[in-house]
């Protein structure tokens, strides 16, 4: 679980060994990843809560972002 203060941003770099979809819940980010190519997303903490970042094919939870 990664802590993120309200108002701050977090940059996440994800590399996948196959074509995939990255989904950052609650931040409204859904992006395609090409196999082997790093994808960079930045999420900003607005509303307190715990949000999951995951891959969809197959389902794989990567991390939880705790916005405080």
């Amino acid at each position: 679980m990664v802590n993120l203060a309200v108002g701050r941003s977090l940059t996440i770099i994800v590399t996948s060994d196959r074509d995939n979809t990255l989904h950052a819940h609650g931040f409204n980010i859904e992006r395609h990843i090409k196999a082997g190519q790093p994808l960079t997303i930045t999420v900003k903490g607005t509303q307190p809560g715990v949000y999951e970042v995951e891959l969809h094919h197959p389902e794989l939870r990567l991390l939880q972002v705790a916005v405080r």
Binding site: H25, G26, N28, E30, G49, A66
Partner: protein
């Protein structure tokens, strides 16, 4: 009043059937306060509570007469049933003709309103699903058409609460584990199958089927037994202590299984977002659905077996037969299950409950705004972390207190007076365990 941007367009398949946010972990100090309160209350209860049974169901303070008249009036009943049936029809419209995307209201209606919302309304108002249940009305219509008595049963066999226990387990499995559980093709199969089985059960066993076997009616009845609002046997609407209703719950076979599923499934939902658990699940070679199903079943069994164990020790200490005793104490788990549900689903219910209303305005996914609610933004005033943490601890501890008092009442009813205090110690230990477990689940996930 703060508002949240309304997140849409992306499917949210997280720990819950629906929902894209979870609560922050409970602060450790709140866990300590809650656990200390639970322990303190338990020991005070041992010494200070009444020595003779005193929770008779037939009491309570009658409501003011205009409220009583309104609640009993045919008009009020007709309006509320019509609204429930309209909502059902509206949802079926979205289920059959809607677009299969993240803006379809059906998964929200099913997983948020029907599950969390029904529990909340039942806790406040009583077993409302007993008279709103659309399948009950469908059954009545069909039996009227076929000119058969809706109450007639083809058999003397009674499965008790067992069908409800299985139905509730199946529903929580669908909500928490089933692959593609928010897609319309899965929901169509699940809802179609449920309606068919529920209807067949009622046709075979008569209308009495619904009150013991329909999972949503049992969900509503058992939580509704804790409502301060109740209709006395003589028809008078009264305000009463939640304890009286829960103490009057009919003990039948399968009740223990049902309450174990109600408590265990909520515990599993909390447990499933524990990072160590899901890291284990998704890095295992076994299919994750298999492990998650084992986890859900394990939680329900843990509740049932731990109650059996505590009751066995109680029976030994009190010198009574253990057979059937665990089921007698099953209703004391109801307030604890209610505390878990409130603590766990408070923010989901408020956040996604509003999102449900937004999505209902466009059941067919054509960009319509038929209810005028499509542009609502979610009001997050009730989701502030301190408030949520307070609600969670208060809910868990209140459930614990009510559970302890109910178990005490059962103990002085079933055990001889001189052993009633010692006989309930194992149950108190068990409840302290459930309460600390519930607080720790909120702390660690």
């Amino acid at each position: 009043v703060s508002t949240l941007a309304f997140a849409s367009a992306v499917a949210s398949l997280s720990a819950h059937g629906v929902g894209s946010r979870q609560d922050l972990p409970l602060p450790f100090i709140a866990v300590l306060i809650g656990a200390a309160a639970a322990l303190f209350v338990s020991f005070v209860a041992l010494g200070a509570l009444w020595p003779e049974p005193r929770l008779c169901a037939e009491s309570g303070r009658p409501l003011p007469s205009f409220l009583r008249r309104m609640l009993s009036s045919a008009l009020f009943r007709a309006v509320s049933v019509t609204l429930a049936l309209l909502l059902t029809g509206w949802t079926l419209l979205a289920l059959i003709f809607g677009r299969d995307d993240a803006n379809n209201p059906v998964p929200y209606v099913v997983y948020v309103w029907l599950w969390v919302g029904l529990a909340a309304l039942s806790l406040l108002l009583g077993p409302i699903w007993a008279w709103l249940n659309p399948i009950r009305w469908l059954h009545l219509g069909l039996t009227k058409l076929a000119r058969i008595d809706p109450d007639s049963s083809m058999t003397d066999l009674s499965p008790g609460y067992w069908p409800a226990a299985l139905g509730l387990f199946a529903f929580t499995w669908l909500e928490l584990i089933a692959p593609d559980r928010t897609t319309l093709h899965v929901l169509r199969v699940a809802i179609g199958f449920f309606v068919l089985v529920d209807l067949l059960g009622a046709l075979v066993l008569g209308r009495g089927w619904f009150s013991r076997a329909d999972p949503f009616e049992v969900w509503s009845r058992l939580f509704g037994s804790l409502s301060p609002l109740a209709r006395r046997r003589d028809g008078v609407w009264v305000l009463r202590s939640p304890l009286r209703g829960a103490n009057a719950v009919v003990v039948d076979r399968g009740l223990l299984a049902t309450t174990s599923v109600m408590l265990g499934s909520t515990a599993y939902d909390g447990f499933s977002s524990e990072p160590r658990w899901y890291t284990f699940v998704q890095s295992s070679d076994l299919p994750s659905e298999l492990l998650m199903t084992a986890g859900l079943l394990g939680m329900c069994l843990l509740v049932a077996l731990s109650l059996h164990l505590a009751v066995a020790v109680s029976a030994r200490l009190a010198g009574v037969r253990v057979l059937g005793l665990a089921a007698q104490f099953a209703p004391s788990l109801l307030p604890i299950a209610a505390g878990y549900v409130v603590a766990h689903y408070w923010s989901l219910g408020i956040f996604e409950g509003q999102n449900t209303l937004v999505r209902l305005s466009d059941p067919l996914g054509i960009g319509a705004n038929w209810l005028g609610t499509a542009g609502l933004t979610v009001n997050a005033a009730l989701l502030q972390p301190t408030l949520v943490a307070t609600v969670q601890v208060v809910a868990i501890v209140t459930g614990h207190i009510l559970g302890v008092v109910l178990a005490h009442e059962r103990a002085v009813t079933l055990f001889e007076r001189r052993v009633a205090v010692i006989g309930q110690v194992p149950l108190l230990v068990l409840m302290v365990g459930y309460t600390c477990g519930g607080l720790l689940l909120l702390f660690s996930s």
